[in-house]
Symmetry: C2
Subunit: 350 residues, 2 copies
C-alpha cells in the first residue's frame, strides 16, 4: 500500500523566509548566464516552462537555501553571507540534479521532463557546467575577507558530492549478494557524500564566509552529512512505498528499476537465507521485474525487515544530526528552528 503523505503541517517559516531573502539574488545570478543555459536553468528552477513561458511549477522546496539561512543565523553570520551561501548551494544543487538525471537516465523530475529530456543531453551537460561555474564565482566573489576559505570549503563539498555520485554509479554493477555485495555502512557512506555533503555545505558555508571557527564549521558539516543519510533513507522508502501522486513516479519504481537502496540491501543482508535468495533471484534475473514481481519483491523486503530498518536508520541519523548541532555552539533560537525544520522535512517526506 502506498504511504500516506498525511495532513501537511504548514512549512516552517524558514523555508518561506529563505526564499524571500535569497531568490532575488539567485535570479540575479542566473540572469548573468548565457541565454542558452539561462533558459535551461530557469526551467530547472521551475521559473519557466521548456518553451520559455512563465512557469507555475513549484520547483524545489528550497531546503538548501533554508538550511543556509538558518546555519548562518545560528552561527551569528551577517545576512549577506547567508544570502551568498544560499545562492551558491541552490546553484550547486540544481547543477547536480541536471547532471544526475543524465547519469541515471531519469526522464522525469518534479512532474516534468528532466532538463536533458526537454533540451537534449549536450545542452544539459553545458547548463550543469554553467551553474557549477556560477556557484564558484558567487562564493569567490563574496566580500568579507573569508571568500578564499569559503570557496575551498565549497570545492571540497563538491568533490565529496561527485565522489558519492561515483559510488552510486559503481553500486549499479555490483552483485546483490556475496562478498562483492554493497554493505550497509558502505551504502550510508555513499549517501553521506551524495546527499549529505551539500546539506552540510549549506549549513556551514554562511558561517565560513563570516569567519566561523573550524570546529563549528566541522560540526555543521557533519550534521548535514548525517541528515543526508536520513533523507536518503526516507527517499529510498518512498522509492518503494511512496504515493505515486506525490513522488511523480510509479509505485515500486526503485524495484522496477532494480536500484540498490537501503531497504532492499538491508533485507538481503539481514533477511535470512530464504528471503535473501528469493529477493536476489527476483532482482538479479536477466528479465527486468514486471509490476507483479516488483510487488512481490516489496512484500519480501517488508517481511525481511528492510522497511523497518530503513525507517530506524532515518531516525538514528536524524538524531545524530541533532547531536552535532547541539555541540556546535549555536545561537539557541536559530538552532531550535534548524532542528524543527529537519524534523518537519523528515516527517513531511514520510
Amino acid at each position: 500500500m502506498p504511504m500516506q503523505t498525511g495532513l501537511r503541517t504548514p512549512a516552517p517559516g524558514a523555508i518561506a523566509r529563505a526564499r524571500e531573502l535569497a531568490e532575488p539574488a539567485l535570479r540575479a545570478a542566473v540572469a548573468t548566464l548565457h541565454p542558452l543555459p539561462r533558459r535551461m536553468a530557469a526551467f530547472s528552477f521551475g521559473w519557466c516552462e521548456a518553451d520559455g513561458t512563465p512557469g507555475d511549477s513549484p520547483g524545489g522546496k528550497g531546503v538548501r537555501q533554508a538550511f543556509a539561512l538558518l546555519g548562518a543565523e545560528a552561527a551569528g553570520a551577517p545576512v549577506g553571507a547567508a544570502v551568498q551561501a544560499a545562492v551558491a548551494v541552490e546553484l550547486v544543487h540544481t547543477f547536480s540534479l541536471v547532471h544526475d538525471d543524465i547519469m541515471d537516465g531519469d526522464e522525469r523530475r518534479r512532474h516534468r521532463d528532466a532538463a536533458w529530456k526537454a533540451f537534449g543531453t549536450g545542452p544539459a551537460v553545458l547548463t550543469g557546467d554553467a551553474l557549477f561555474a556560477l556557484a564558484v564565482q558567487t562564493v569567490a566573489g563574496a566580500g568579507g575577507g573569508h571568500a578564499g576559505r569559503a570557496v575551498a570549503h565549497l570545492a571540497e563539498s563538491l568533490g565529496e558530492l561527485v565522489r558519492g555520485q561515483a559510488d552510486d554509479l559503481l553500486f549499479e554493477n555490483r552483485p546483490w549478494a556475496g562478498p562483492e555485495a554493497v554493505g550497509l555502512p558502505e551504502y550510508e557512506a555513499m549517501a553521506a557524500r551524495k546527499t549529505g555533503a551539500l546539506l552540510g555545505c549549506a549549513l556551514s558555508l554562511g558561517p565560513v564566509l563570516a569567519g566561523a571557527p573550524a570546529p563549528q564549521a566541522d560540526a555543521l558539516m557533519e550534521a548535514g552529512r548525517r541528515l543526508g543519510v536520513a533523507f536518503q533513507a526516507v527517499d529510498d522508502l518512498l522509492g518503494i512505498w511512496g504515493d505515486p501522486y506525490t513522488t511523480g513516479k510509479p509505485v515500486h519504481s526503485d524495484l522496477l528499476r532494480r536500484k540498490k537502496t537501503l531497504p532492499v540491501l538491508a533485507a538481503v543482508a539481514r533477511g535470512g537465507g530464504a528471503t535473501g535468495r528469493e529477493l536476489t533471484r527476483l532482482l538479479g534475473s536477466d528479465v527486468p521485474p514486471d509490476a507483479a514481481a516488483a510487488q512481490h519483491a516489496a512484500a519480501l523486503v517488508e517481511a525481511a525487515g528492510g522497511r523497518d530498518f530503513a525507517l530506524a536508520e532515518a531516525h538514528r541519523h536524524a538524531a545524530a544530526a541533532q547531536e552535532c548541532l547541539r555541540g556546535a555552539g549555536l545561537a539557541e533560537d536559530a538552532a531550535g528552528e534548524l532542528a524543527a525544520l529537519s524534523a518537519y522535512l523528515l516527517e513531511r517526506r514520510l
Copy 2:
C-alpha cells in the same frame, strides 16, 4: 589537397620543462579522485588505455601547462604558483574536452575513442565534474595569500569558457545566410571565449596566485584570448584542409559535418552572391554532403577567399597577442620564450 604538416621543428624546451615540472603534481592531484573518475581521467590524459593498462598515447601536448609556466616566470611568480596554475589549467582543459566531446557527439579524440564512447555518457559527465571540482580545489587550496583572488579569476575564466561553448552550440542552429547568419566578429568572440579564455587563464593564473597587479593579469588574459582566436582559425583550416593522418579525422571533416567555421563563414559573407548561394545550397541542403559535395564546397570556400581570410586572421590575432604581451611588463627572457612558443604552436599546426 591536404595541408602539409612540414618538417617538425623540435618543440621548444618550455613544453618539456613544463611537463617535467607539473606532471608529478598533476598525477598526484588526479590520484586523489574516486577510482571511477580517476581511471577515466588517466585515460583522458593519455596515461592509460580504457582497460587501465599503461598507455603510450601521447595525450595532449601540454600547451596550457607550458603557458602557465612561462606566464608565471615572465611575471616573476615563484615556481610553486606556476605548478599550481599548470595543474589547474590542465585539469580544466581535460574537463572541457571530456564534456565537449559529449556535447558535440565527437566519437574520437587524439586517435582513440572519446571518453564518453569508451566509458559511457554518464561516467564521462561525472569525470568532467570531478576534474572541474579538483581544479577549483587545487587553486583554492594554494598557499601564498592570493588563493581567493586566483580562484575568482579561475571561476570567471570557466564561466567565459562555458559561454563560448554555449555560443558554439547555438551557432549550429543558425542559418548560413541572411540577417540571422553568424557574423565574423561574433564567431571570433566565441573563439576568444571557448578557446582563448583558458589560454588566458593559463598565462595569468600563476601571476595572480603570486599577487600580480591587475593590469598585468588583464594583459596576459587578453593575450590568451587573442591567441585563442588565432588557434581556432588554424584548427578551422585543418578541419577542412588538414592531413587526415595528423588530425585523425577524414579530409574535409568539418564540411562533411557542416560545421560553421571561420573559412566557410568568411566565404559565405565575403565571397559574393553566386559563390555564397552555391555554398549555402550545398551546406544548407536537407541531405548531408557526401565526399564529392564536401570537396566541391572546399573548392568554393577557397575560391571565395575563405582560406586566405582565416590564415590572415590567425596571423593578425597572433600579432595582437604579442602586442598584449609586450605591454604586460614581463621579464624579457620569459616573454621571448612565450612569443617563440606561440609562434611555434601556430606554425606546427599549419
